[in-house]
Symmetry: D2
């Protein structure tokens, strides 16, 4: 992750690595296990929204929004941990993936098209 001294994601990565090492928890942090922890955290986010309408999900109470923020923090935390273990540069990968998507979904072709938006996530369909 490019610039160790200034970039916020690189700083988080360093802090999380120290946290795991101080607790001797690196032994549990195989990519397989971290992928499980990551999806479990995602599910806690999903739980907040599962009985809400889409409109309600946009208008959370301050208390709920705060809970949601901490769930999303957990997701980012495990994502960074997994990237560290696999030596993957998340920012570089994300930029590369967006470039792929820009080619795959030209604006004039998919404009306002939910079906296309669906294929955005499921190219196998």
């Amino acid at each position: 992750m490019s610039d160790e001294t200034t970039d916020s994601l690189a700083q988080l990565n360093a802090r999380l690595l120290a946290f795991a090492r101080e607790r001797n928890w690196e032994q549990f942090h195989s990519p397989k296990n971290l992928a499980m922890a990551l999806i479990a955290e995602c599910a806690e986010l999903v739980e907040h929204f599962q009985w809400l309408s889409e409109a309600q999900s946009q208008q959370l109470s301050e208390q709920k929004r705060e809970q949601v923020a901490l769930e999303m923090a957990d997701i980012l935390i495990y994502l960074i941990r997994a990237a560290e273990r696999l030596d993957i540069d998340l920012i570089e990968a994300a930029n590369r993936k967006i470039a792929i998507n820009e080619t795959r979904y030209p604006a004039e072709k998919v404009y306002g098209d939910a079906r296309r938006a669906g294929e955005y996530d499921d190219p196998a369909q």
Copy 2:
């Protein structure tokens, strides 16, 4: 997200917002829908590891590691989109969550303890 001009996460956020707007896809991006897309991407990451041993998950082929990097990119992309819609500062939330974890799991108490590591993710247990 602190410094719009230099921070990598802020730059990704701006690029993704433009991507969605150019395609008129913001209408599909309710927090509820984005949470679903996020967990679906996580599952694609899990699929890569489900039949591997923990050790194998640490030693991916270059081709597999590349696929995994793009899955992780998708997770980051939807996480950033959801944060943007909910006006959540991911970096600030992650730092706050780590501080909570530092208090909750003092190194001397949980050192090398898988059971404790387990409670790290599931305080309800």
Copy 3:
């Protein structure tokens, strides 16, 4: 699962066990791995619905409904496999859980209450 000869779930279980043994795949079917396969299949179901409105999710085309049926089949398949490996009687467990829910959510207390319905899934909140 109670009656081997007549019950549909017991029949599926026997068929799936034979399928795994004929392929020497039992070695991959640890409960840990099966839980990962199970959630990955759930995510494929989620993908079908993530950009649909709730109303649209109720009115699938015949082709889509058919795809959804096969995703749900995959979920049931892995759930049965995991239950077999852990020697858990799914039907008995489900009946026991419903009895717990009947006590926890008396009809007169939670009638038509989404907030209560939310707590149905997340008693920790």
Copy 4:
């Protein structure tokens, strides 16, 4: 689901439908929402296994096995609810899917082959 009077899954379905109606909760049970609830329950199962080795996941304590049984019950419950809303016969779909898998993965071709077992779940790879 074939025989209403004797089959265990059909009995569960009837009991769950009554449960939802008595609480006026059918309004929340769109297929979209049920898919979210289903994956959230799967994640609670995953949480039990995420820091365990595969071998440990096979040798749960009686208390843990009991917790796992109730998580699996929740998964079955939401799967049955979703099938009811979409008018899908789970048993029929599962048998159809197994038949597809029998053709797709001939025993002599995939015997003991993890890579093949992997493709079992991810035909798109």
